[in-house]
Symmetry: C2
Subunit: 276 residues, 2 copies
């Protein structure tokens, strides 16, 4: 048990099957985005996964709970968040995950610091990535504002993150990432020459509203054409309740392919089964 220097809370995911330890305030707290990102991979997925910028580890823990053949490495730069992720692995609810999930503190965006942390090039089958997404110019924050820092991209912007992902996954390995929908041009640019066969899933808060997020997956080195899928609607009706498909993902541990079959493509069969 670590002696955490910050106040934390324990948040349940997948109907209590997973418990995350998250900073009670200040830091960015994970939730919907992280669980949807984790649903990108099918329950039968296998191999090694790296979660780039894992934060407190919500996406990785949720994916580990669903896909029991995966081994995951959660990589995070901020010491407090690394401590949260390690603390989460000590929670009784997560006892079944601890043997398959490793937490590594490293700055992912430089090859030297990746290597020093033992993250070998092309050593992963899959990458998950939920990078910080506000432009530096748009955010006013003091250096001590952790929440803002978690949302601020460095000068290299998204490109640095996609470069790191491409460096870590093997040829034909996969990347799944979730980002604000209006960053789609930068996402497509950052995938150029790295990840192809892109599948873009728009996430709409309601059926008649523009997408607020896109979930994008790609295959390293693929030259297949991009596919733009019918969007996924998060909320039914006018209230705040989630659509049934979302409830299945958030509470029951369904994968995206389970609730949105167009996500499940023969080209991507290997991500839902054994990639190796």
């Amino acid at each position: 048990m670590l002696d955490l220097a910050i106040e934390t809370s324990i948040d349940a995911f997948l109907g209590g099957r997973v418990e995350a330890v998250q900073p009670a305030k200040g830091h960015h707290r994970s939730g919907l985005d992280a669980v949807i990102l984790a649903a990108a991979l099918g329950t039968a997925a296998a191999g090694r996964v790296v979660d780039l910028g894992a934060g407190a580890g919500v996406a990785g823990l949720v994916l580990a709970a669903r896909a029991k053949r995966l081994r995951l490495v959660l990589v995070e730069r901020e010491p407090d968040l690394v401590a949260c992720a390690i603390e989460a692995l000590a929670q009784p609810a997560n006892a079944g995950l601890a043997g398959r999930v490793e937490v590594v503190r490293a700055d992912l965006l430089a090859a030297a610091t990746r290597k020093a942390a033992g993250l070998e090039a092309e050593s992963f089958d899959h990458a998950l990535m939920n990078p910080p997404f506000h432009d530096p110019g748009r955010v006013r924050a003091s250096p001590d504002d952790f929440r803002a820092r978690a949302h601020v991209l460095g000068e290299g912007g998204l490109d640095d993150w996609f470069r790191a992902a491409a460096a870590l996954v093997r040829p034909q390995g996969t990347l799944a990432t979730i980002l604000p929908a209006d960053r789609l041009p930068a996402i497509l640019d950052a995938c150029e020459g790295r990840f192809g066969g892109l599948t873009i899933l728009p996430l709409h808060p309601r059926v008649d509203e523009p997408a607020t997020r896109v979930l994008v997956r790609g295959v390293k080195g693929s030259r297949a054409a991009m596919r733009l899928l019918p969007g996924l609607v998060l909320h039914d009706g006018a209230g705040s309740s989630f659509a049934p498909g979302l409830v299945a993902i958030l509470r029951d541990g369904a994968s995206l392919a389970d609730i949105h079959p167009v996500w499940s493509d023969p080209q991507w069969g290997e991500t839902a089964t054994d990639p190796s």
Copy 2:
């Protein structure tokens, strides 16, 4: 009446309100894409429109029939298609359009030939564009295969077309274009630095299928963020019949904003009313 050197057919659009003269064979024939593209602008739109690569003029004629305050210039390079468009303006069904529609033969992709044809820079309020879209490397065609030529992009690819559109429309003028969905990365690249405030409407053949086309509109010089809209589904159920919204566009002359309200954005009010 021109003496057309090729065999043509007369095709009715908007329930017979518009009649296009199209090559009976060989050339690319317009239809669904052109009418959806024309629906991008509201019925109250006003000002001058250029249709880049107008073919036999279907999109321009349909738009002119709907939006009676617009004046249109249809620009096409292929002489046979120019002749078809001129012939169409002589059809009795189109008598109400002839005074507002002009047909110009020109190679749009070079500033010199545009200027020689009287197409002044920044002289249009709106541009429509349905450019040829197969990559040269993908199409095997003899130089005489008009149908293939109409679908082949020159070496400059899409970028040449977007450059031409940006040259012809005034600052804050608009572009609407329809292209295969898998060209979205090239579309976004070609808009960079030219058209912003992009609105992307995916067109899905059926509710559970990836988009085959995207309709994209933008504002010249805008720095507004991109919006990715909920897709429009073309066909209901398993059969070949069109969804009710599509029927309204194809037969009744509805605009996209009429049948898909999210297309109608306050930011875009000027395109549905008077842009000047």
